[in-house]
Symmetry: C2
Subunit: 414 residues, 2 copies
């Protein structure tokens, strides 16, 4: 049915034409396609406000994003340690480029598909922090290494190192490898000390591999509440990696890279001797989870970085007292806790437990109330999985949409 | 940098060429691109097993899916009620077509973007169950109605009905509308009885609108555990809608459509007088949430339908006793509870609380154990948001991938 298909395609391509005649003065908002049509040569031709976006939409505040990147880089430079920000958070080559331009020495990737997407969009200095264990994944990683000499990958077992060597040799390439060391969470990584040393020595001897050092990411310490407790746990759980670092050094193995740490410990990690760079991710966006861990100067609120990532949602129903229903539920917000927070307002709570709908409830003395059609801006619960729901990120300056960034590695979980 | 861009594109287009030389005999799996390349004229040229898929990947068992669709249709036909399955669950025009071919009278959509995607892929009989409240959403809905005469939309306030009328008149079309009635959850819908009647009468009088009836979706009753308790709550909470149905009838308003119910109440809803069709969604896939609600014959397990939706994942780390780490975390499984279940195995539990990694833990007498590189098949926790994470669904017959279906409405939350 080619004619029908053509009609359907034409409908979707021109779906703003017929009814665009009807625009009530009081309310308007733009679809993704309409906003793209407003761009000519990459510059916005109309003053589209974030409050005019069709919803739910994911926005990043550019002033906050730029401030977060600058704050991170300034602090790390002062502490004499580098940053290697994690791309799993933003999945955006545009933000990766901003981080590199600010001084980051590379970008981390959690999956080989993420590393491929970064490379496809111009980001070369990528360290993949997860071990590739299947033939498929190893083949993808070696192909990427073949095309991108700056690609580095992690390994955490002797069996895997032998497979990597075999693959590299068969391709006539040399692959750069770091040893992933377990900080004690037993999620990934080899046991620090002698097992890690033995793996490092094996890599150093195997053909086709170049040992570049080690990494130790302690996810379990990033959200410890209270700075003192977080500092104590972070430093204690990096001791095994430091021992391994010493063993590598005394055995003549490379420690050019000793990577670890994250947004919760970015101003602690430099106290670990030998650590070269921190794999900070969430600091670019912040979220309700991180706001709650407390900072060095404020045990209640982690205010080192500014929440930049928000979801715009619309009130769909206000018929019942004490609450209203919105269009941003679990498919737009995830069900991570703490729940999203209404930006700039107090005396209300938001939940996104329903797949399609959010619920806003008024508490005592809400700073405002809402009626059908009103927009609400939400600070996200947990940035990483929220970003992974959206194809595009609206980059906003003040209230104006300045650019639309594709979330190029969205859904790249393989 | 056109040359670099070309190199990057060529790398990604041909990324299986160079290292494809290296394939250890013991392990193999296929990327999405490789499987697509195996198709010629839509038929699979190689016997790709689901166990050979690159992971994480989302699979549907075709035998189970077909059985679920047949079971639902047979039961509803026996109970003299129709089905109007909800597309928010599968977001797949292919599955919508299977449902229509089996006898469904239409497909529901939760969002206008979902309804657009269904129409673009050949699904015309779409009822949108959510009210469109902004000018943008109304414009999109009216454009869709203009192109697709079978599109029907819900409304739940007089203010909204007036906006719909204004938009339809300005376009010179007539829009089909149903009244969304609140079952008591206060999420969406107008209060049943006189308020709903007044809205129906208004729609009946407004230019540009055709009243087709009403809907009442009681999401809160679908997961009530135990058949008797679920039956009692379901029928009690539909009483207001039945009153409204009676008021519509006695006032000469159309009750051609009286839609409601879902997978948890599919064999209860027909007891509600006047109900024309059930908006069943999850039955096509089932999930751990629904398995736990119990059925009419089995209070422990809801076994009316067969779990058909699974995630294939790979073991990444087995170095620590009692557990292993996989590549399917929150970004592949969501964090809905109950957690995903390992299909066909006992004595083990799975959690997907980490963004990138899953954790399998052995309990007493596990039916098997795993080593690095082994594949695990997971029954999903909650099908709707899991489907919304993936671009493609692998349709599997037995163990063989028979087709790859695009999840065309993935991420369609606007």
């Amino acid at each position: 049915m080619p004619d029908t298909a053509m009609t359907r395609r034409r409908f979707l391509q021109t779906s703003t034409s017929a009814a665009a005649l009807w625009i009530p003065a009081s309310v308007n908002s733009y679809t993704h396609q309409e906003i793209q049509d407003l761009y000519v040569d990459g510059s916005m031709q109309a003053n589209v406000s974030k409050w005019e976006l069709d919803t739910p939409s994911l926005c990043v505040d550019l002033d906050a994003l730029e401030a977060n990147i600058a704050t991170m880089q300034d602090t790390l430079t002062r502490n004499d340690i580098a940053s290697r920000p994690h791309g799993k958070t933003h999945k955006s080559p545009t933000i990766a480029r901003m981080q590199l331009d600010a001084g980051a020495i590379g970008i981390c990737a959690a999956k080989v598909s993420e590393a491929e997407a970064m490379f496809q969009h111009g980001i070369d200095a990528v360290l993949m922090t997860t071990t590739n264990v299947t033939a498929t994944k190893i083949r993808r990683a070696m192909n990427l290494r073949h095309a991108n000499p700056q690609f580095i990958q992690a390994t955490d077992s002797e069996q895997n190192a032998r497979l990597l060597s075999e693959a590299a040799v068969s391709m006539g390439i040399t692959a750069d490898v770091v040893v992933d060391v377990d900080p004690g969470g037993h999620r990934t990584g080899i046991t620090p000390g002698q097992p890690a040393l033995a793996l490092g020595q094996l890599i150093d001897q195997l053909p086709g591999l170049t040992l570049r050092g080690l990494l130790c990411y302690d996810g379990g310490s990033q959200h410890v509440k209270g700075f003192a407790a977080r500092r104590e746990q972070t430093l204690e759980r990096l001791l095994g990696a430091t021992d391994t670092f010493d063993l590598f050094n005394s055995s003549g193995l490379s420690t050019e890279i000793f990577s670890g740490g994250g947004t919760g410990s970015y101003n602690i990690d430099h106290e670990t001797r030998g650590l070269t760079d921190v794999q900070v991710g969430s600091y670019v966006f912040m979220d309700a989870q991180y706001m709650d861990i407390g900072g060095a100067d404020n045990d209640e609120l982690y205010a080192d970085f500014v929440p930049s990532l928000t979801i715009m949602t619309t009130v769909l129903n206000d018929q019942y007292p004490g609450r209203c229903t919105t269009d941003a539920g679990a498919k737009a917000c995830t069900i991570n806790r703490p729940w999203p927070r209404v930006k700039g307002e107090i005396g209300m709570s938001y939940t996104s437990g329903s797949d399609e709908f959010g619920t806003l409830r008024y508490e005592e003395e809400p700073s405002r109330t809402y009626k059908v059609g009103d927009k609400i801006e939400l600070i996200v619960s947990h940035c990483d999985p929220v970003v992974n729901l959206y194809n595009n990120l609206y980059a906003v300056r003040g209230e104006r949409v300045e650019a639309i960034w594709p979330i190029a590695a969205r859904g790249m979980s393989t």
